[in-house]
């Protein structure tokens, strides 16, 4: 159980050009449920391995509860880690596999037995405890891997590196809720790596969004949705992602493609670089009157809602087509002014009220 901190932490693999992980400073709360979310190759595994000590960062320090652990080995850091692909010890039974981390640390047999049975129950492995691990299917092998991560009662943190990749969708959902439930019962820091936003948003209290070796935002799922601090977050989270329109900002007004002007909730100073206006499709509605004139390209039915693909002054946008509303002959686009954000060179620009 620990607060995890990073000080000027960065990593470059030897021989590779540039950083795999760009310099960062962060503090993660004790007993939080964190998700590391980002596309393939953005450095999630690198960060995780640095936390667990499998990888030594080329720069900076890792702190557990304020104590520098950068030079401690994985064994001494007292963390558990579950990998993307199942690792089971072939010659052992399921029970022996689950007890392995305990046995290596000299936990008394009776206590170990109780822990193993508890964890097996949690993961639905109770019936298979005395089977040989090598003959089980991929799902079950991964459950064993998960079990070995969960079996120790005293860890500072449990790290999951895309642990459910090989598991079928139905079981995936169930196991994820089990993990969540476990987190509620036992206050331990959990860090869950994934590139699936649904997985991240349902599991975590805090989502750490990464892109190209950089942490672009840490926040609650709501914050990521309502106030993306980076266009990458806006785009990556939500489906469809946030609309981004090139614009020019003049005080409290933005000039959109086609010369349309919209009022902004905040006043902005002069902005340099690439300036964009961001609005989520959820807050842009197609309507019969008001707003801005748009051309409708097509309508997608997502089941629970309908998305209209429209064009404003030549720029494509996704908008919501309100329930029950027939497709208007002369569609207009109404933007919720409170939900407008301005980005300069990808980063959220601070305005003043």
């Amino acid at each position: 159980m620990a607060r995890i901190g990073f000080e000027r932490l960065a990593h470059a693999y030897p021989g590779a050009a540039g950083y795999a992980l760009k310099p960062m400073d962060m503090d993660w709360d004790h007993a939080g449920a964190y998700a590391l979310l980002g596309p393939s190759g953005c450095g999630k595994t690198t960060l995780l391995n640095i936390i667990s000590g499998l990888l030594r960062p080329s720069e900076g320090r890792v702190l557990f509860d304020g104590r520098d652990v950068s030079s401690l080995t994985t064994e001494r850091r007292n963390v558990a880690q579950v990998f993307q692909f199942p690792v089971v010890y072939d010659t052992m039974t399921v029970r022996e596999n689950l007890a392995f981390p305990l046995r290596n640390r000299g936990v008394p047999a009776a206590a170990a037995r109780a822990r193993v049975e508890h964890v097996a129950g949690l993961l639905g492995l109770s019936e298979r405890l005395d089977r040989r691990a090598r003959n089980l299917g991929a799902d079950e092998k991964q459950k064993i891997s998960l079990g070995r991560g969960l079996v120790r009662g005293d860890v500072a943190a449990i790290l999951f590196d895309e642990p459910l990749t090989v598991i079928d969708p139905h079981l995936k959902w169930e196991l994820r809720s089990r993990l969540k439930e476990l987190h509620r019962q036992v206050p331990v820091t959990m860090i869950y790596v994934t590139h699936d936003q649904t997985e991240a948003l349902t599991f975590a209290d805090r989502v750490v969004v990464m892109s190209e070796g950089e942490v672009v935002q840490v926040g609650t799922p709501e914050a990521l949705f309502e106030r993306p601090e980076h266009t990458f977050v806006g785009h990556f989270i939500g489906s469809p992602g946030m609309n981004l329109l090139r614009c020019a900002v003049e005080g409290r007004e933005a000039v959109l493609p086609g010369g349309h002007r919209v009022g902004l909730p905040r006043a902005y100073p002069a902005l340099a670089g690439r300036v964009e206006l961001g609005i989520r499709p959820e807050f842009a509605a197609v309507s019969r009157e008001g707003g801005l004139p748009v051309t409708l390209r097509r309508v997608e039915d997502l089941g629970r809602r309908r998305i209209a693909r429209v064009e404003l002054g030549g720029s494509p946008l996704a908008a919501t087509l309100p329930e029950g509303m027939p497709v208007p002959a002369e569609p207009r686009l109404v933007l919720d002014p409170a939900r407008l954000h301005i980005y300069a060179d990808g980063r959220l620009a601070a305005g003043s009220a």
Partner: protein
């Protein structure tokens, strides 16, 4: 759907039958033929039935005593070779580098002894271990140890076993190294997270992954050491006395030295059957163990 049947197809296997006949069947049958006959020179042969076999398998006779002595010696030699080469080979494989230039360097060094012909290995050691001019023999004697493989049976044994270890440990090491290389990094990472020490990693990960190659290594090394001939023959000639006269050396002595073709033929058949039997037992137990593990 019935396939047309044409017995002429059998003709197609004739070439193979002929090849096997000339390369294996006919030589073996010649040996079998000798083993049931006695000869007094002049190319005259007399029917002797199972006489040679009875004599061979009865330790109280001359031939039987000699045979069993050589058999125990050979088995002891094989056992010593396996006991030293297998653990040593595993040890070498475990301490080999896993990346960098060291990999190819150590592979080349390991492969060297394997590339040397048997009788050259024998000659190398014959000279290397000589007490007067051999680097090893002279050095050991210089240290005050009385070492002479030509006269002391124990020294002779140490020399032939050391020679076999020198020659063949590489093979075990290379096979084990191949097994070790097939272990994904994630296993080592998981073991570190699980707090496994070096011994636990060996037992839980490395040994199981090496099991298949070790099976092959044990089989190869057993067969090879059990049938060894050239190297000890060059170094000790089977001596001093009969101290290092292994089955194959004894066989040659009987067949070519004394020209007792019947005895030698009976002996080679029994020798051959022992090899086959060991092979079969070995194969049967490993396949059974594997099919059990698969359950």
């Amino acid at each position: 759907m019935a396939k047309p049947r044409d017995d002429r197809a059998w003709l197609l296997v004739l070439p193979v039958v002929a090849l096997v006949a000339f390369s294996a069947l006919i030589p073996v049958m010649t040996v079998v033929n000798y083993s049931v006959q006695d000869s007094f020179g002049n190319n005259e042969f007399f029917w002797n039935g199972t006489g040679w076999f009875k004599e061979l398998l009865d330790p109280s006779t001359d031939l039987g005593g000699r045979f069993f002595d050589a058999l125990w010696r050979t088995l002891l030699f094989s056992a010593l070779c396996l006991l030293i080469e297998i653990p040593l080979g595993i040890g070498v494989a475990l301490s080999m580098p896993r990346q960098g230039w060291g990999v190819s360097a150590s592979l080349v060094v390991l492969a060297l002894p394997l590339l040397i012909p048997w009788n050259v290995v024998g000659t190398i050691w014959q000279v290397f271990a000589r007490r007067d001019i051999g680097l090893l023999g002279a050095a050991v004697n210089g240290l005050g140890v009385d070492y002479n493989y030509a006269q002391d049976p124990l020294d002779a044994w140490i020399t032939v076993v050391a020679m076999d270890v020198w020659h063949w440990t590489s093979l075990v090491a290379l096979l084990c190294y191949a097994g070790l290389r097939s272990i994904p990094d994630a296993y080592y990472q998981a073991a570190r997270v699980d707090g496994a020490g070096a011994w636990a990693v060996f037992r839980a990960i490395q040994l199981p992954k090496m099991q298949r190659v070790l099976t092959i290594a044990v089989l190869l090394r057993f067969m090879d050491s059990f049938m060894i001939y050239t190297e000890p023959f060059v170094v000790t000639g089977g001596g001093p006395g009969n101290a290092t006269t292994f089955l194959s050396i004894d066989l040659v002595k009987i067949a070519l030295g004394q020209f007792d073709l019947g005895k030698a033929a009976a002996m080679s058949i029994v020798y051959n059957l022992i090899v086959l039997a060991v092979c079969w037992v070995f194969f049967a137990t490993t396949t059974r163990r594997e099919s059990e593990a698969a359950r």
